[in-house]
Amino acid sequence: MRVIVAMSGGVDSSVAAARLIEAGHDVVGVTMKLWGGESDTGCCSVSDVDDARRVAQQLGIVHHVWTFTDDFQQHVVDPYVDAHRVGHTPNPCIECNRHLKFDRMLARARAVGYDAVATGHHARIVSQPDGTRRLARGADAAKDQSYVLYMLGQEQLAHTLLPVGDLTKDEVRAEADRLGLRTASKPDSQDVCFITSSAGRAGFLGRRLDFHPARVVDTQGTEVGRVEAVELVTVGQRRGLGLPGGGDSRYAVAVDVPSRTVTVGPPDLLEVSEVGLRSMVWPAGVVAGPVKAQCSAHGTPREAVVVLDPTDSTRARLVFETPTRRVATGQSVVLYTHDNTQVLAGGIAT
């Protein structure tokens, strides 16, 4: 097969490229340039491009840089800022996978005559008896990234390779070490690639939207504190709410940006029995009934039942078997098979 491997400059995609070459594929490495601003790591900094290129040289493959900065701004950065403006909690990595890696990049790879795009994600693609494909969790449970790939539909799954999905992270590093790849001991990337640790989320957002101070009130409406920026408060947050010390723990249980109000309360107020979902994708076909639901990148899967919207397949309701921590609006919720091994569907919490 002719394969474009998306090389971020990290160890996983380096080993992905090496494994594809060993398997006899025609492989070209591509690093996406997505972000022109400051970055600690990710796919964007010159040093990460350098690492990707040097690994490609070592592996003896051609390496290109593809620039998708406009798309990244439009589909990832702007929505990230807009979501905070209204007090939502976006997941930019998922939007990047949805719009960049497995849309723009895959389309270009196909246009230039390649059969598939490969990445270093820890997840697997498995064939079903009926000929369809499903995304399955990676072999390393602690590093599984199927959550951020739930949007891959049948067409994308058919043209995607995940060569390190059947390895543990330790095995990936050992393989990189065996091949003498310069990225063998490079630390895993952390957090959002376009936000630097020095500026942080507040610094990044502060240059792009106006922050508004807000009252912090208890469930009776009595003011108990103040925050400088209501846009930076996330439901479920406990620290940084300007509350006096002592007493029972109180959490942000509601964030209302228009009225500049954060409501705090005991943790049981965060417990909900269901969540509404929008922008649903159904790579394994529309399913109703019992599933395992994962509500954050490293969250514990919960027993739940999918209730379809009879008039709109992009919407659904998820009823939890036992009350669970509320899902912040904007977070992705991924539905797995009842044995928690394969992705069935996913959507965004409303």
Binding site: D26, T31, D50, H64, R108, G113
Partner: protein, 383 residues
């Protein structure tokens, strides 16, 4: 898979092969000869003589006095010295054309300068320059390239210099691309500062010249041992300077013949591509009039394709070409030159720069004519 063998090199504006005359002149200085020209002994004197002779050769070919030649570490350094050095010596407003190379635009931005627009053919608007000179009132430097690196448009340096001098401003011209094809001693004669880069005309990389005419206020940007009349400290790159002089001499001797031969190749390439690729536009010559363009440059905008995809497939076919200028990471960035020319944004996505040079052949043109229209058709079909 490893890189394909090169079948056509169409990126001479990025760099061109070393001329044999340059290699021959440099060889002794990469072998048995050596020396720091600033020393006080026989070895040093020999090195000093080599760069002095190179200085004489270069001065003659660039139309200046030997003591007006400042050797630098390349074109970018020469441009930086010109802009920042003049501004340091005589603060004021710096005006640059909007299509300057980043080596000029970035230092101009550093000193808070302004840009002057160009027309749809990439040529500076003289009336806009005149208006800007009047509007600012304190312009101390006007910097306009002799010819543009992306689209190849030659600028009216003499007319601009006349305007600038009338307002008491000095004139710098980045002649890095023009020096390959034009007689710099003539076309850039009215500029007070002229930058050239060795590797564009067949010399080695990493060496260049700033011509700084006598009386032009200029402060150094790099200080130390005081070489180059204290304008550019640092031990001379003797082999580079000697090679640059030999390349410039060889280029000058062959210039008219090469310009005619390569210009004809470029015209054949343009004719073939424009007839074979529907809707392709010759960016700086939409009406087909190339009289203002360098003979080696063919810049196309091809609707319905993306430059990076195009370059990818050309590379697979062993054809070396480029889009806009490349940034440090190797990514393609939107061209400020095309933006300044008013090229529609949709068209700039499919920008392609094909630049020919002294080694270009009919076979290379044939190869591009064979491959490029098919590649465009394929990419358009894939949408």
């Amino acid at each position: 898979m490893p890189s394909q063998p090169v079948t056509a090199y169409l990126d001479h504006a990025a760099t061109t092969p070393l001329r044999p005359e340059a290699r021959a002149a440099m060889a002794p200085w990469l072998g048995e000869r050596f020396g720091n020209p600033s020393g006080a002994h026989g070895v040093a004197r020999a090195a000093r003589q080599a760069i002095d002779e190179a200085r004489d050769t270069i001065a003659g070919l660039l139309g200046c006095a030997p003591n007006e030649v400042v050797f630098t570490g390349g074109g970018t350094e020469a441009d930086n010295l010109a802009v920042l050095g003049t501004h340091a010596a005589r603060p004021g407003t710096v005006l640059a054309s909007a299509v300057e190379h980043h080596a000029v635009l970035e230092p101009v931005e550093l000193v808070g300068g302004s840009t002057v627009p160009v027309d749809g053919r990439g040529v500076v608007d003289l009336s806009a320059l005149s208006a800007a000179l009047k509007a600012h009132g304190d312009v101390t430097l006007v910097t306009v390239m002799t010819a543009n690196n992306e689209v190849g448009a030659v600028q009216p340096v003499a007319e601009m210099a006349r305007l600038a001098h009338k307002h008491g401003a000095a004139v710098h011209t980045d002649a890095v691309q023009a020096a390959v094809w034009l007689d710099i001693g003539t076309v850039s004669a009215s500029a007070d500062l002229v930058a050239v880069s060795s590797h564009k005309f067949g010399g080695p990389q990493g060496v260049g010249v700033l011509v700084a005419r006598k009386g032009t206020p200029l402060h150094p940007r790099q200080v130390g041992g005081g070489q180059e009349r204290e304008l550019r400290s640092g031990t001379h790159n003797v082999a580079g300077i000697v090679g640059m002089a030999a390349a410039l001499a060889a280029k000058a001797a062959a210039r008219e013949e090469e310009a005619a031969r390569v210009g004809a190749l470029r015209d054949r390439l343009a004719k073939g591509l424009l007839s074979e690729i529907p809707d392709a536009v010759e960016t700086a010559a939409p009406d087909g009039d190339r009289s203002h363009l360098l003979p080696g440059t063919l810049h196309l905008t091809i609707p319905g394709v993306e430059s990076e995809a195009l370059l990818f497939l050309l590379d697979e076919a062993g054809i070396c070409a480029s889009a806009a200028s490349a940034c440090a990471s190797g990514a393609q960035e939107a061209s400020h030159v095309l933006a300044a020319m008013g090229t529609p944004l949709a068209a700039t996505a499919g920008a392609l720069r094909l630049t020919l040079g002294w080694t270009s052949t009919d076979a290379e043109v044939d190869r591009v004519l064979d491959v490029l229209p098919a590649v465009v058709a394929r990419l358009r079909g894939a949408r």
